[in-house]
């Protein structure tokens, strides 16, 4: 599941600079997440960075697009070729919301 910004968004922009994948931008109505760039912060944080700073907590997993941890980590690896990530089996809790 890529993360989804719901219509509760107040357009404050707190999330935009927090995203490790630069997936967040201002949309026509509220902020939007580019699903092709979202890794639900797998490989970066224990919890989605956008949801952590969101004052209204409206950055939630998209129930219509379920994705597993392996897919999300593979996406992080592909998006950041210069960065090293631990293999899936050794991914610590502070780098994946699936292990909290």
């Amino acid at each position: 599941m890529a993360t989804l910004i719901t219509s509760e968004c107040i357009n404050c922009g707190a999330c935009e600079p927090e995203c490790p994948n630069e997936a967040i931008s201002a949309g026509a109505d509220v902020y939007e997440i580019d699903q092709a760039l979202c890794t639900e912060c797998v490989g970066f944080h224990a919890k989605e960075a956008c949801q952590s700073v969101c004052p209204v907590e409206c950055c939630v997993p998209d129930p219509t697009r379920p994705e597993d941890e392996a897919t999300l980590l593979a996406r992080a690896v592909k998006l950041h070729p210069d960065r090293s990530f631990p293999p899936l089996a050794e991914l610590p809790a502070e780098l994946s919301r699936f292990r909290g």
Partner: protein, 290 residues
Amino acid sequence: MTATTALTAKDFKSDLKPIWCPGCGDFGVLQSLYRALASIGRPPHEIAFVSGIGCSSRIPGYTTAYGFNSVHGRALPIAQGIKMARPELLVLVAGGDGDGFSIGGGHVPHAIRRNPDLTYIVMDNQIYGLTKGQLSPTSPCGLKTVTSGYGSLEQPVNPLLYTLSYGAGFVAQATPADMAGMTAVIEEAIRYPGFAFVNVQSPCVTYGQEEQQVKAHRAHMKSLASLGHDSKDRMRAFELAAQYGQELYTGVFYRNPEPPPTYGELIRARQTELATPLARERILDMFVQH
């Protein structure tokens, strides 16, 4: 007056990007206002938006309506003048708790007793945020700020009781923690024919208290509708409004079921009355007799 249903929230969004702190509650007010205005359906050029000074008073610039970022505390007098001169305009007024209840506190009762058809939105963050965190008129007693190092010794102004007691026909409260609720309240306030007041608990993310942030609002806010409150019951509204600072009630405290004539309507009726030759003669008689 032109009514159109084709307007969307985007039509009210200006090219100016808000410079409020990320996470500020005022973003929520702006977003709700865009949606409420789209629902009202008046085009931006038929709207005048007046504010005072402060973080929240930047809001007219972020809309496509005609805006006037005016003098500190003087948004209401200027808005009343605009409404008198151009009664066909939809006039909105906004500002912070300092602008409305300290610097401009004296203007609020007089605006209310005239009952102009205005919607006054106060973004109440209980602090002077723009000037880096001094005690404001709605700061709770005991609050430590840069101007109250040992804690405030003063009781806060209660914006809900303040406006209710002077006779405002519409008094409501909202929070960005409930965007749908805030949009509904702002829309209802704009539709009310007379002076409408909306107090938005809009937390200051930089200088505000931890327990007053939007996340905390979500945990303890209570909608007046869920309590079964009847917004026609003014005395019950007083009791609920008196709990400002202890309880976070959202929704409409009071809506006058029989809105009295607005100041503009009374003025126009008087002008019509005096325009008849008979009335002019009566005035002349008054001078002659004295």
